[in-house]
């Protein structure tokens, strides 16, 4: 579903992605972790073209990124992206947020899109909040709207960039619960997170990145109980400490 082969990327002189080779199978859930600045965001932002790669091969849903034949706008409709900072449209209600792309991109009838949107919002536990503006919602509620906004497009892949790190601790689990639900329905997911509970519960693989490179890959069991490298051990001891 997603295949990186020898991917490199630079920001000016900074080599952010170093020879990344990595693939994600359909219905697989992969968790990406690593210290801040290690290139995790850049890695998943490449998948939907928010960043472009310098060399190597990146194939998503059978289409090679950077190819003339690949219609990026079309490909993006198949990929949901959940941001750390939610990025809901502040001038639109929860329901308008989740129906915007279905109506304008998928060209679904408004009434149909709205009933699907209500259903999706109810599913993430926001049945009472259809007409609320983002500013009237808590962080956890906003992030759930953001997830619903992606799901309403019926994507094939969902990408999450630290979806819970901007949240107060008491709101983290409500968002993780929704993500677990999405994973259990068989979504192909790539999730940048340090939430080990989530990784253990639904991830098939954990990818550990440091300084722009994939340093270690393994099942959550292997990775958390028996990290193979010094760097992953150091990283784990740091996030376990708090």
């Amino acid at each position: 579903m997603i295949e990186f082969r020898g991917v490199n990327k630079w920001f000016g002189a900074l080599h952010v992605l170093k020879d990344i080779t990595l693939s994600v199978e359909p219905r697989e859930v992969v968790v990406v972790c690593g210290p801040s600045g290690s290139g995790k965001s850049t890695l998943i932002r490449c998948i939907n073209g928010l960043e472009t790669i310098k060399d190597g091969r990146l194939v998503v849903d059978g289409q090679r990124l950077g190819d003339r034949a690949t219609n990026m706008t079309e490909l993006r409709t198949e990929i949901g992206f959940v941001f750390q900072s939610f990025n809901l449209y502040p001038h639109k209600t929860a329901l308008e947020n989740v129906t915007l792309a279905p109506i304008h991109v998928r060209k679904i009838q408004r009434t149909e899109a709205e009933s699907a949107g209500r259903e999706m919002l109810a599913k993430v536990g926001l049945a009472e909040k259809f007409n609320a503006y983002p500013a009237e919602l808590s962080g956890g509620q906003q992030q759930r709207v953001a997830i619903a906004r992606c799901l309403c497009m019926r994507p094939k892949i969902m990408l999450f960039d630290e979806p819970t790190s901007a949240l107060d601790p008491e709101m983290i689990s409500e968002v993780l619960d929704v993500m677990v639900g999405v994973a259990e329905e068989g979504m192909t997911m790539m999730v940048v997170t340090h939430e080990m509970g989530f990784a253990r519960k639904v991830a098939q693989r954990v990818v550990f990145m440091d300084e722009g490179a994939v340093v270690e890959t393994g099942t959550p069991e292997e990775f958390f109980s028996d990290p193979k490298t010094d760097r992953s051990r150091a990283f784990l001891s740091k996030i376990l400490r708090h």
Partner: protein, 224 residues
């Protein structure tokens, strides 16, 4: 004496109405055209094409860096030298529209730049086209920032329209000059001219103030 002056002022009211009509027509036409062009330029200026942005920026600096009176003279007296015959009204509209477009472009561009990049990324990620991103996500948010200064700019432009009397258009200001030759009381005549401008501008000033209050309070789309 004052009584006599009043009487002859009242006698000039058809002329005064004509002047007011001219000022309103000039302002209305050039503000509508200037807004359309200004929005287009503002969107182009922020669209990421360096060359386009530079050219627009240079033109705006040129217009902002020269007196409006000089711009009007250039359009009215110089263009005919190149074979472009213009009547005073058209010249006035062109000059005012150009001025309005330049200021509005900068206001709109500043509004667009104030929209966080995360908003564009969210719209991009959900597959919206460039026009849809602009129309559905960026512009509505930019308008929250742009609308109050935009309306304020309209007031300035209406007042700037008085400069077109210099090329012989019978607007409110020129009516003042004409009347003052018959009724030699400049204070009285131009006080009335001032009131004429104020009557046109004051509703806009109130609107700008109201918008500013509403922007800071409400959610949702901006409505007038």
């Amino acid at each position: 004496m004052i009584w006599f002056q009043f009487q002859s002022l009242i006698g000039s009211y058809p002329l005064a109405l004509r002047g007011l009509g001219m000022t309103v027509a000039l302002s209305a036409i050039s503000l509508v055209l200037g807004t359309l062009i200004g929005f287009t330029l503002g969107v182009l200026r922020t669209s990421g094409n360096r060359l386009v942005s530079r050219v627009i920026g240079l033109w705006i600096d040129l217009i902002r860096g020269t007196p409006f009176l000089v711009q009007i003279f250039l359009i009215f007296f110089i263009l005919p030298e190149f074979g472009v015959e213009l009547d005073a009204f058209t010249a006035g509209i062109i000059a005012l529209t150009n001025l309005a477009a330049c200021f509005i472009c900068e206001i709109v561009a500043a509004g667009i730049r104030s929209v966080p990049t995360g908003q564009v990324e969210a719209a991009l990620a959900s597959g919206l086209s460039q026009w849809q991103r602009m129309r559905q996500v960026v512009l509505p948010q930019a308008m929250r920032v742009s609308l109050p200064p935009l309306v304020g700019q309209y007031v300035l432009l209406i007042k700037d329209s008085s400069v077109v009397s210099a090329i012989g258009l019978t607007d409110l200001t020129r009516v003042g000059w004409l009347v003052v030759q018959r009724v030699p009381n400049g204070l009285l005549v131009f006080a009335i001219v001032g009131i004429g401008y104020f009557v046109v501008c004051y509703p806009l000033i109130l609107l700008a103030r109201r918008l500013e209050r509403r922007m800071s309070a409400a959610h949702g789309e901006v409505q007038l």
